[in-house]
């Protein structure tokens, strides 16, 4: 518990640094931001009004201070297009994105772990080659490419799944059908990473003395692989799953666009197309918070798996 609190407090400076970086990047728009947002034909009055609204006439330090106090009060600004608070817009579709992320992590682990274990225990035999080839293919597929191929095959040709994502008042079965294909898309790509690192981690553990001892004492191959080897190979696997979270967010954005699912990804695409910089900034801040949260959870998972880290 003490460890958890310590770890969480360490996340705060990271969060602040990330927010500052996002604030700075958004403000290096070349030229007048208001002119970029409104286009060439905007009147001088409209430009001035927008500058006033965005606080562009204030000094940068003032803007930064306002930005931070806003964040502390849970205010991410107001969308330039819909005129609604960014946080409200994001919270409305957030459940969809979280649903997709959780489902795809489940698919990734359920598929990736056995594949990696199987490849490691059958080193340099056909399951190993199949597993490695699968990993390479998974690592080489951009999420939107695999998404489009899945959509074409299973939703458009075979009609097993709906082409359009969730509707607002869908029943649980329809929701499940709608999330299945996008989650499969993200999950298969993730399982490629998981399988690869599981294989590598298991291989290095397999060479340990205590594994040979267990084998000599007559441990069944299954017990040996799962209890003795896998449980001691978990740390690198957790690291990869944690590190993968950032990639998962990027891939989820692409997947939501391909499968036309309401979510943070579609919001970002909309913000990019309409040059809604407040929305863009707010969404990046939300994503950054998720990344920091995932890092903290990863470290807590280390401690849960390995008692040495808890006491250190």
């Amino acid at each position: 518990m003490k460890y958890a609190l310590k770890r969480i407090s360490l996340g705060l400076p990271t969060l602040l640094a990330m927010f500052t970086a996002i604030f700075v990047i958004i403000r290096i728009v070349p030229g007048d931001a208001a002119a970029v947002i409104l286009g060439d034909q905007a009147s001088a009055g409209a430009l001035e009004a927008l500058r006033q609204q965005l606080g562009l006439n204030e000094p940068l330090s003032q803007q930064y201070l306002g930005f931070l106090t806003g964040l502390l009060q849970g205010d991410l600004g107001t969308s330039l297009v819909t005129k609604r608070p960014v946080l409200d817009e994001a919270l409305r579709v957030l459940p969809n994105t979280i649903e997709l992320a959780v489902a795809s992590i489940l698919v990734g682990l359920v598929l990736g772990l056995p594949l990696g274990v199987c490849a490691a225990t059958n080193r340099n035999a056909w399951p190993d080659y199949v597993g490695r080839l699968f990993s390479l293919v998974g690592l080489s597929l951009p999420a939107f490419v695999s998404g489009i191929l899945l959509l074409l095959a299973f939703a458009i040709q075979l009609r097993w799944f709906p082409v359009i994502g969730t509707t607002q008042n869908a029943g649980p079965w329809d929701r499940l059908l709608a999330v299945a294909l996008p989650a499969l898309n993200l999950g298969v790509i993730m399982s490629a990473y998981v399988a690869r690192v599981t294989r590598a981690s298991m291989l290095s553990t397999l060479g340990e003395d205590y594994v040979r001892t267990a084998k000599a004492k007559g441990a069944a191959p299954m017990t040996l692989a799962l209890r003795h080897v896998l449980s001691n190979s978990l740390l690198p696997i957790i690291t990869v799953v944690g590190l993968y979270f950032g990639t998962l967010i990027g891939n989820a954005v692409l997947t939501e666009i391909v499968f036309n699912r309401p979510g943070l990804g579609r919001l970002i695409l909309g913000a990019l197309n309409t040059r809604d910089y407040t929305m863009l900034q707010g969404l990046m801040i939300i994503f950054a918070s998720f990344v920091v949260l995932a890092n903290i959870l990863t470290d807590l998972a280390y401690a849960a798996v390995d008692p040495r880290i808890r006491t250190a």
Binding site: T14, A17, M18, A21, I22, I25, I26, I28, V29, P30, L136, V137, L139, S140, L141, P142, A143, F144, V145, I148, L149, L151, L152, I156, L203, G207, G246, T247, I249, G250, N251, V253, L254, I257, V258, I268, L269, L272, N273, L280, M284, F287, A288, V291, V292, N295
Partner: protein
Amino acid sequence: MSSIVLRLSEAGRFMSRGGAFAWAGLALLAVIVLVAILAPVIAPHDPLTQDIVNQFLPPSSEFWLGTDSYGRDVLSRIIYGARISLIVGLLSILIAMSVGTVLGVLSGYIGGRFDAFVMAVVDLMLSFPSLLLGMLVAAVLGASLENLIIAIAVTEIAPFVRLARAPTLVLKEQDFVQAARSLGCGHGRIMRVHILPNLISDILVMGSLWMATAIRTEASLSFIGLGVKPPTATWGGMIREGFENILDAWWLAVFPSVFVFLTVLALNLLGDGLRDATDPKLRQRD
């Protein structure tokens, strides 16, 4: 320089010993590069000529991979699109590699507060989703070839800083560096002549793996609409246009997708093979 050549020829020897995957990757990459270079010679049609009469034609003997919504030949557009993908991939990775290596060596060599600051920034960049960072930078700078290259380069600097810094920390304490210093070598010369050659081959190997990611990111950004502006043929842009017509003309999205996949796969195969061949730890275990 000679040590680089030595390490790479070593890599070649290890590749020849068993890396069938790596050779397949190299061959595939060579074909794609050749196609990109010879684009004006081998493309059967002009990639930009519109022909409204021939729009949305499925693959046929005249148009091998069909035509798009403007009646343009998909195969010719894919062939020209290879140029953009390879140029963006190569230039962005060269920028990321040079900036990252210089920063990494400096950071490791100088140490102290400078090192702590650089590493804090690098950790920050590594934990922020790279596709989102690319989107942010590309959106802020505006869509163009140069800005796309810069945006992708920015997302890939951090891993090279890490990769260059770690061996620098070890190398700067070694006897031959101390000896060079006592002979009156300047810091710049020590970094250039005594440290850099010892880590450059690892950087180059990682470069081929990260170029795969760069090409994937380029396709993703173009798909979102942050890439090189139409009518220039880019794979991501073609997939974007094809996706809009996916119910009527499947070939528009599928064929460029296949080429993105093959290019990234080729680079991954090659990079994996080279890394396995140059990594002494892996060599021992095999």
